[in-house]
Subunit: 329 residues, 2 copies
């Protein structure tokens, strides 16, 4: 491994001079710049980021804390969008990110997690899909040891900002369109997990709509499970004109239940995952741009890390109708 010293010797300048051209300092003559560049080139010199980081003391890595769901890969698609959006932006911003699955932290106490992160020089964390009963990360946020960005969860403070899709409005919008399209009155709403923040927001959305349109609204928690949604639909589907689900996966479950008991009900989903295109039926849903959300999250964390104040933001959503033909063409 060729070091900065060898480059300096080769170009017969001082080490610091090499460092300066490396880091684009002003006040270097074109002549010496050229000499140094030539030396770097000929020696195939590659700066050692480790040493640079240690020396400059401004070395911050950002942990991306994501979920891996082995049950269904519907979630994988979302996670991958999150990851690639974040990494893309991180490269642009020149910060280093490390991917961490919740499962890797399982069983660790709050202190252990903090130490683990610190030992890795992690100063910023982006938390995707935090649940209400995640004590560990709640406390980590509270202790303000890191700069934090939470995606789709309501935390804002000096060191924490939030990036989220307006789930309430999105749920309101998609359900409204479904209600109007088919002139429905009796709605079966299959909510998500009780411990999820987005669940509450989406619930608020549907409730606002119900009030506004004077709908007959029945609510059941489907826990984001396809099977659960299926069972709920089997039980209560008949008495509804429309089934609104808080996730696409549950919408699939609801649809299939309708088929099984031989009733037809419009169903609408939430997320806009590609899987929907494979079910072979048509469904109204909300598409979120997870990639863009994640990019925004990285921008936020960069702001925070650079000492500026975060400015939490709300991302766009849009309504889409998915069906088979949309996907394979």
């Amino acid at each position: 491994m060729v070091t900065i010293k060898e480059v300096a010797d080769y170009a017969s300048v001082a080490i610091s001079t090499v460092s300066k051209v490396l880091n684009n300092y002003p006040n270097i003559s074109e002549d010496t710049k050229e000499k140094v560049r030539k030396a770097i080139d000929e020696l195939h010199y590659v700066p050692n980021t480790i040493a640079a980081a240690l020396s400059s003391k401004r070395f911050a890595r950002v942990a991306l804390i994501v979920n891996l769901n082995t049950q269904t890969q519907a979630i994988d698609e979302i996670t991958m969008q999150y990851l690639s959006g974040a990494m893309n932006k991180a490269m642009e911003k020149n910060v280093e990110v490390v991917t961490i699955f919740y499962s890797m932290l399982e069983g660790m106490t709050e202190d252990e997690v903090i130490r683990y992160f610190q030992s890795q020089s992690i100063f910023g964390i982006v938390i995707y899909g935090m649940s209400k009963d995640d004590k560990v990360f709640h406390n980590i946020l509270k202790r303000e040891v890191f700069k934090n960005v939470v995606v789709d969860a309501p935390f804002i403070s000096e060191n924490t900002s939030s990036v989220w899709v307006d789930n309430k409005k999105a749920q309101y919008d998609v359900a409204k369109r479904a209600v109007l399209d088919d002139n429905c009155k009796r709605i079966l709403y299959i909510a998500g997990k009780r411990n999820g923040y987005v669940t509450d927001y989406r619930l608020e959305g549907i409730q606002e709509l119900a009030e506004e349109k004077e709908l007959d609204l029945k609510i059941h928690y489907g826990e984001f499970s396809e099977l659960e949604a299926r069972n709920i639909t089997l039980k209560y589907g008949k008495e509804a004109d429309l089934i609104v689900c808080a996730s696409d996966l549950m919408a699939i479950g609801a649809m299939n239940a309708c088929i099984d008991i031989d009733i037809f009900r419009p169903v609408c989903g939430f997320d806009g995952i590609t899987l929907m295109g494979y079910v072979g039926k048509q469904m109204l849903t909300v598409r979120q741009d997870f990639y863009a959300v994640s990019q925004a999250a990285i921008e936020e964390i960069c702001l925070l890390l650079s000492g500026e104040k975060g400015r939490s933001r709300i991302m766009e959503h849009k309504l889409v109708k998915l069906y088979y033909k949309d996907i394979i063409c």
Copy 2:
């Protein structure tokens, strides 16, 4: 940030002493060990891995080079399994991994990629799903600058070892069972991408079977595309008794084509992705344990990095029948 020096002062010992208890050196009295541990604890000292790495010069990171397919999330599931398997094992082995998408390297020359990796202190790389015409990584392998592990590609050398599923045998096995189950004679085989290594192996598998059982085998390249497979099936499906596809996604395309032209043909796939469970039909396929494959890949790279010789290995596969009910129950 509390440093080793503060710990040393607090415990009134020398810095080197602290370092020694940290790294479990012998020849330290229990007394001082205890003193130091107490200091570490009370000061909440966290060793700085950056500095440790720089100092000890034995710092190796491993790059996981994966694909992100925005077209279909079928691939996402596989990639996530790869990633989590690798990270899990990496944590156990105490090596640091960084995730890199091919798309992040797009447009970079071979030298640029090498420099980029080197600047990141990446000394080992694990390549998932390399294609035959990926000049950049072919040359990187050839130049032996890193320690390498390739998954499902045929490269073995001093610094490179390979971890793979026996694709030939797997394709042979699954097709054989399908052929026997329905006593088929005329096979339509929809192969993968021409530039993929696994494509060739799978092709060999089906060809061996055809020879052995004296089957009438027609081969077409579906490029791992659902639409392509669909079109091939529309054209040639009628003259076959059985359709064997080199991926589950293509199998879905083939199935749907059969329905469209109102013929019934058994179809068999490859990979065993969860998506299959959502198609609502039954299909024979091959399940690979991507998680285990990736764990093995990390073990290999650790061997290589520690200077030992790699021992490339072949992973198990198994035949499965997927359908809707398997998934939601």
